[in-house]
């Protein structure tokens, strides 16, 4: 492999990391605050894809603008689902069986709703941006992937800012660290959890919109991303947003470059192996390792 091929692969891996980070962050927020593994995450990715698709095909709204519209719409959907369903699950510091079953059931309902509305055909968003690329020397940058990467970075940066510079962000972080202490300090746990769930679903919907710019989708869409989202949040540390970015980058780099030595038919095995390795060697993820180093220092 020459240096140009290597650089092209590196660019592909970094841009893929952006996609992975975008789709994982919503799951991390929900887990961090509510200690719930959102198995319905894939369903909201799918709904987000169709939301942006409908805006584009019916009203000619640019998909990128559609992604921005998806944030408030899916926030409201998420907050509504929390109020209707999630708040009824008994609170726990660990994911519980009722929460897993409830959200898995919700995923199935969303899938079937998708089939009811959009049928079983493959849908896709085709814009002049879809195939456009630009080159810096011999390195090729697909515009869509760059846009998705930029949107993912902007989302993560916005979230980091909100979590560290706003009262509400501090409330979320307090709940992520210790919900009882947060309650004593005056945090309205139920309201904060509802908003956090809404934000998590908003990120899932927006990520679905971003993915729709790159992939074709059916109501089954999102399932293959769900496993990767698990790997990323375990790698990154279950409650860390910076960890999500690092986890996404590690997974994308390993998946992309391992193909050079392992046939690509084994790509899913790479994700599974990483998940197992992370659980055994780094149970608190990269973020845990970082915290440990800080404590030792």
């Amino acid at each position: 492999m020459n240096i140009v091929d290597f650089l092209n692969l590196l660019v592909a891996a970094v841009l893929l990391a952006g996609v992975y980070a975008a789709m994982s962050v919503g799951m991390t927020i929900i887990y961090g605050v509510l200690k719930i593994v959102n198995l319905a995450h894939a369903g909201f990715l799918m709904l987000g894809a169709y939301f942006v698709y409908e805006l584009y095909t019916r009203f000619n709204v640019d998909p990128l603008l559609g992604v921005i519209f998806a944030f408030p719409v899916f926030f409201l959907i998420g907050a509504g689902i929390y109020w209707l369903l999630v708040r009824r699950i008994p609170r726990s510091d660990q994911p519980t069986l009722p929460s897993l079953l409830l959200l898995f059931g919700l995923w199935l309902v969303l899938q079937n709703l998708g089939y009811l509305i959009w049928g079983n055909g493959d849908h896709a968003i085709l814009t002049p941006r879809t195939f456009s690329t630009f080159q810096i020397g011999p390195i090729i940058f697909p515009t869509v992937r760059l846009v998705v990467f930029g949107a993912a970075v902007a989302s993560l940066a916005g979230l980091e800012f909100a979590l560290h510079r706003t009262w509400f962000g501090r409330a979320i972080r307090a709940l992520m660290q210790n919900s009882d202490a947060g309650r004593i300090a005056g945090v309205n746990v139920d309201r904060t959890a509802q908003i956090a769930f809404g934000i998590g679903i908003a990120f899932a919907g927006a990520a679905g919109g971003l993915l729709a710019m790159m992939y074709s989708f059916t109501p089954d869409f999102g399932g293959s991303f769900l496993l990767r989202a698990f790997v990323i949040i375990v790698l990154g540390g279950l409650e860390s947003f910076a960890g999500v970015a690092v986890g996404a980058l590690i997974l994308a780099l390993v998946e992309t470059f391992s193909i050079l030595v392992i046939p690509s038919g084994y790509q899913p095995a790479i994700s599974f192996s990483l998940l197992v390795l992370a659980l055994v060697i780094l149970p608190d993820g990269v973020a845990g390792l970082w915290k440990k180093r800080q404590r030792l220092a």
């Binding site: 079983n120 849908h123 195939f131 059916t218 193909i259 038919g265």
Partner: protein, 405 residues
């Protein structure tokens, strides 16, 4: 207590009655994916089967000699959701609880493979109109039949087509070919067919790269980089619809070019053309059937299908399913009985002389799989496509090499 006992007995008897065989109809199990990854082809195949059933019933049903009358066909349908375990389970359910006379099912090789273990176990004929891997039919099963020719032959025909372009001077000889194959028997056999043709016809092309990829992939950039690195002139992949769309998008985005491109049996699919637009132009596909075949029965089927389903037949999907049901009906009539072994034996000798498939005569080979020729179809601009091979069925000229823009 007594009331409870009576109620349980009543429910049990009622349950048995529901699954029991009716003397006044022929129950045919249909197991297809209507949801999940294979939903669209599964839907088209179901529509093909249902059209055949409708036409059979409209003509009074199937004559069963031992009953002394025509019996209507009753479809027992199950959606396997593109899930292998579910697919096998539903075929088992149809063959046992529903006591069907035969099952038509298994779109895609993976689902067909899962289903194919049931027919001999329950001695019930099973016809697959969607699983093409010869591997399924090489295990010595006697109740399995298939209306698609093997994917090995698809690969071989692809080689033949490329060779014909070289003979015609459209492509130079001794070109390098890169293969990207889905990690299933379908993909493996497709690759074997191409390699076989290449070895039997030295000097035409050589395979310089061959690698398998996982179904439902989200990123093919690494694989495509390896294809690029192989410096091949021709890129041949064997992929399902979603992988075809994802891979072709990434192929274009990575600025690659090959003189000829194929994704196996995918190419003219409407969803792909919507998703990829002009990027699908000049991609060629080896198909088991095309609505452009110049047979009168194909034209009639096209019109009937549109009236029945409300849309055009997409790609090859509905035709082998339609013929599977018609072959089954013919076998039942020839058997003169609803005895499953008799129907199995009749299927072995069935000759559907007005078949929609290339060659117009459908008969099952020794293994239970048909051995019909393929047609090569090439996408053209403005959503058009032509049969470009074999010459006697061609509706247009093959464009080779593929224009760069």
């Amino acid at each position: 207590m007594n009331f409870l006992l009576v109620a349980i007995c009543a429910f049990t008897i009622a349950g048995c009655g529901k699954g029991g065989k009716s003397a006044n109809e022929i129950r045919v199990g249909v197991v297809m994916p209507i949801t999940g990854r294979e939903a669209k082809p599964g839907q088209y195949q179901r529509e093909g089967i249902e059209l055949a059933i409708k036409q059979i019933n409209d003509s009074g049903g199937i004559m069963v000699k031992e009953k002394g009358k025509k019996l209507p066909v009753k479809e027992v349908f199950y959606d396997d959701a593109s899930d292998q375990a579910k697919s096998a389970g539903l075929v088992e359910r149809a063959m046992t609880t529903d006591e069907v006379t035969a099952v038509i099912g298994g779109y895609s090789t993976a689902l067909g493979e899962a289903e194919s273990v049931m027919p001999d176990r329950y001695q019930t004929p099973w016809i697959t109109p969607g699983a093409a891997a010869a591997h399924i039919f090489s295990r010595g099963y006697t109740y399995t039949f298939g209306t698609l020719s093997s994917t090995d032959l698809l690969g071989y025909t692809t080689g033949e087509f490329l060779g014909s372009l070289m003979d015609a001077g459209k492509l130079k000889k001794d070109l390098a070919v890169a293969l990207a194959l889905e990690n299933t028997d379908h993909g493996v056999e497709y690759g074997e067919g191409i390699q076989r043709w290449s070895q039997e016809h030295p000097g035409y092309f050589r395979v310089v790269f061959s690698e398998k990829f996982d179904l439902g992939g989200t990123d093919f950039s690494g694989l495509l980089q390896k294809v690029k690195g192989s410096k091949a002139d021709i890129f041949l992949a064997d992929a399902h619809l979603q992988d075809y769309i994802t891979m072709e998008r990434q192929y274009i985005q990575s600025g690659m070019y090959h003189q000829m491109i194929s994704y196996g049996a995918r190419g003219p699919d409407q969803d792909a053309r919507k998703a990829l637009g002009d990027a699908t132009n000049y991609i060629f596909a080896g198909l088991w059937w095309s609505k452009k075949l110049p047979y009168p029965q194909v034209k009639k089927f096209d019109a009937d299908y549109q009236a029945f389903a409300g849309h055009e037949p997409d790609s090859y999907y509905p035709a082998p399913a339609y013929d599977a049901m018609r072959a089954l009906a013919m076998a039942i009539e020839q058997a003169g009985s609803l005895n499953k072994t008799a129907i199995r034996d009749a299927l072995k000798n069935v000759e559907l002389k007005d078949s929609l498939m290339p060659g117009q005569v459908l008969r099952f080979g020794k293994t239970g799989q048909v051995e019909l020729p393929f047609v090569i179809v090439q996408n053209k601009p403005d959503d058009k496509s032509d049969i470009v091979y074999p010459r006697d069925a061609a509706t247009g000229e093959a464009v080779a090499p593929k224009p760069r823009k």
